[in-house]
Amino acid sequence: MTEPSPNPLRDPQDRRLPRIAGPSSLVIFGVTGDLSRKKLMPAVYDLANRGLLPPGFSLVGFARRDWADEDFAQVVHDAVKEHARTPWREEVWNQLAEGFRFVPGEFDDDDAFERLKATIAELDEVRGTGGNYAFYLSIPPKFFAPVVGQLKEHGLAQAAGASWRRVVVEKPFGRDLTTARQLNAVVSEVFPSESVFRIDHYLGKETVQNILAFRFANAMFEPVWNSHYVDHVQITMAEDIGIGGRAGYYDEIGAARDVIQNHLLQLVALVAMEEPIAFDARSLRVEKQKVLSAVALPGRLDQHSARGQYAAGWQGGTPVQGYLQEQDIPASSTTETYAALRLDVETRRWGGVPFYLRTGKRLGRRVTEVAVSFKRAPHLPFSETATESLGQNALVMRIQPDEGVTLRFGAKVPGTGSGTELRDVNMDFAYGGAFVESSPEAYERLILDVLLGDPPLFPRHEEVELSWQILDPVIAHWATQGRPEQYDAGGWGPTCADQMLARDGRTWRRP
């Protein structure tokens, strides 16, 4: 095959031109689920609305429902109306809805997969989708293997000629190192690694790029980004909600596997890594893997890890029940809904700077942030009374909600007759953006990347395995420790987490 001649209408200087995905369709397994209705369907519509989907784009739903194409279209319609980010446009909807198909069936039903194959062939014919499909596995991990197997068996995973097949997998990527490897073996047997897109929807591409730009596009932060100036780093992901209707899933997984393994460790990697040689997915991966390999667990896990379970309490003005009282949770459950952990990054840059990670459900408010706490000035030429309420300088990268950066530093209180008084003040920056075309949802970026075949910034299996290597010993340790401590819903976690920091002479920030 000869190289295709370059497109005369494309010019690297022409940065207005959007990249529109080529002819393709998206097949969603588990299309009746919450995620699919709240995130995937609206994201597809928003992409169409922004003109980024190819003409003829088609959406195929696969699930255990007795639906016709029209019923499916109605479900998508309602989901889009309720959750889409961009305004409703009848004509966008009409052109999109023509490409909706629904295939009812179980994951072990050979006939259903034959019907799926026929549906896809029909779409190629009628809608010109060109034999290009992305399979989105919005299903529990235990079904990955059967579905991927079925795709292979029915010839749905092999692309003919220049067309492509891709697969999207949601976290959690396994429940420990062994299962992660098994899962990877199953998927990689059928799909090459560049066709596998793992998504962590907490950490959109936009956020990752914001962190990278902040660290590496500026001259004034990098010089202090090391153990000479940084005292410690706190990475928090707090949720105010409980487990909702996900009892079955959550009780098997717990907070550490659900959030620390993927989301918080990715944030550690982004904050701690060295500068990548380029801003592309490959160079980024190299640096992230390097720093994750340098992460060390504390010597005594009983002193530097903490876990808890939320008890009944008041959350933002509403009485809420405790974890053990939630529906379908056994009263003997030892699953943690709060997890905290100290990590050290053993590199020249970070030696002696602890990274404290915490996540939990039913905490004070919903927030995800990275707080870099700086050392106190070595000498303060003020009286002791003047600096009493002066804390440590801090730089906080807010991930959500309200993405932005806060800088905390000391300032003199104006006036105050009897001598100088110093106090902490905040300087705040928010990434504007609530506009028609501004910050796309993480899922929009992801779906577009999948359809374009853009190498994702999301972790490849090497990073997933490194993360499990870090977390597995912690979870094994907890398994020997009996029941987690109860903490009041609506607060900031169990007392053992506060003690964990107190041992190091530090306290958690109130985010």
């Binding site: 497109n7 010019d11 080529g22 966008v92 009409n94 014919e125 809608r127 010109g128 504007g432």
Partner: protein
């Protein structure tokens, strides 16, 4: 917070901005640019509303400049708004008397320190924009020839006086069309032999699209009149058949490729706020527009030589 200042000057306006910011309790400024909107009473409210919408994506200090009667006493009135439906600040300046010729003396002290300045003429723009006393303050000068009385003539005048930093919303309107055309050739890398553009007679965007296609493809591109609205069709003629995008209604379009079923695509005309948001995403020179403009003026010159 809203203040109305009657018969005032720039330093009092600046002081009221600081006061409003204090009162709003957020002394830090997240604003990234100053957007100066030159308008008149008739268009002021719609232009300021569009600017406020844009400032949700690009937090900005918006300065609306309205020139009133030149006759009569010199007077400057201002209404200052902070934090009401905008993520930045907005000031509407009303100038009368001899001051109408010295708007820059009011605007200059009100520019945000050390950040880009964008000038926007939502309807009739001066030509050349870069020589305008307000235009010289800006890195980016945006006209909208589609909204001018003389449309195509206005677009041509801007094209002839192009300097880096100028753009025209008539060009911005083409982005979705250009995106689809480029995507078509991504998928079907065929050699285009010629091209046709159909649009309303008065549509300035069509001329820019013709010029862009001609300069990029190096083939003959012809313009044909249609009843509109706006652009209605682009056709790329190839040896394998025509690639065509047709939008007869101004809303949804049909995308046709030889050997494949016709496919509907959404290609709606965008609002001014959406166009401006795209425009403000980059503040450096738009080289592709420059190239299209060069190609356009060259075509016009040859045409005139022929008819002469």
């Amino acid at each position: 917070m809203k203040f109305d200042l009657v018969d005032t000057d720039a330093s009092r306006i600046a002081a009221s901005l600081v006061k409003a910011r204090r009162a709003a309790g957020s002394p830090a400024m997240g604003m990234v640019l100053t957007l100066v909107v030159v308008t008149d009473e008739a268009h002021a409210s719609s232009a300021m509303r569009a600017a406020a919408e844009v400032s949700a994506e690009h937090p900005a200090r918006i300065l609306g400049v309205i020139r009133r009667k030149r006759a009569g006493p010199i007077r400057l009135d201002a209404s200052v708004r902070v934090g009401q439906n905008t993520s930045g600040e907005s000031v509407v300046l009303r100038l009368s008397g001899d001051l109408v010729d010295h708007a820059d003396s009011v605007v200059l002290p009100l520019l945000l320190p050390d950040s880009p300045v964008v000038l926007w003429w939502p309807h009739d723009a001066p030509s050349p924009m870069a020589a305008d006393p307000l235009g010289v303050l800006a890195q980016r000068r945006i006209s909208d020839s589609t909204a001018c009385r003389t449309k195509r003539a206005a677009m041509l005048a801007q094209a002839r006086h192009y300097v880096p930093g100028d753009t025209d919303l008539a060009w911005t309107r083409l982005t979705p069309w250009r995106g689809l055309l480029a995507a078509a050739l991504d998928q079907h890398p065929v050699t285009v032999q010629s091209a046709e553009v159909r649009a309303e007679r008065s549509n300035p965007s069509a001329d820019l699209l013709v010029a862009w296609l001609a300069s990029r493809l190096g083939v003959t591109v012809t313009r044909h009149n249609s009843r509109g609205p706006g652009l209605t069709q682009v056709r790329l003629l190839t040896r394998h058949g025509d690639i065509a995008i047709s939008r007869p209604s101004g809303r949804s379009a049909v995308f046709a490729i030889p050997g494949e079923a016709d496919r509907p695509v959404a290609l709606e005309r965008r609002t001014t706020a959406e166009l401006m948001a795209e425009e403000l995403r980059r503040l450096d020179e738009d080289e592709v527009y420059a190239e299209a403009v060069r190609s356009l003026t060259k075509r016009q010159d040859t045409k005139q030589e022929k008819s002469a």
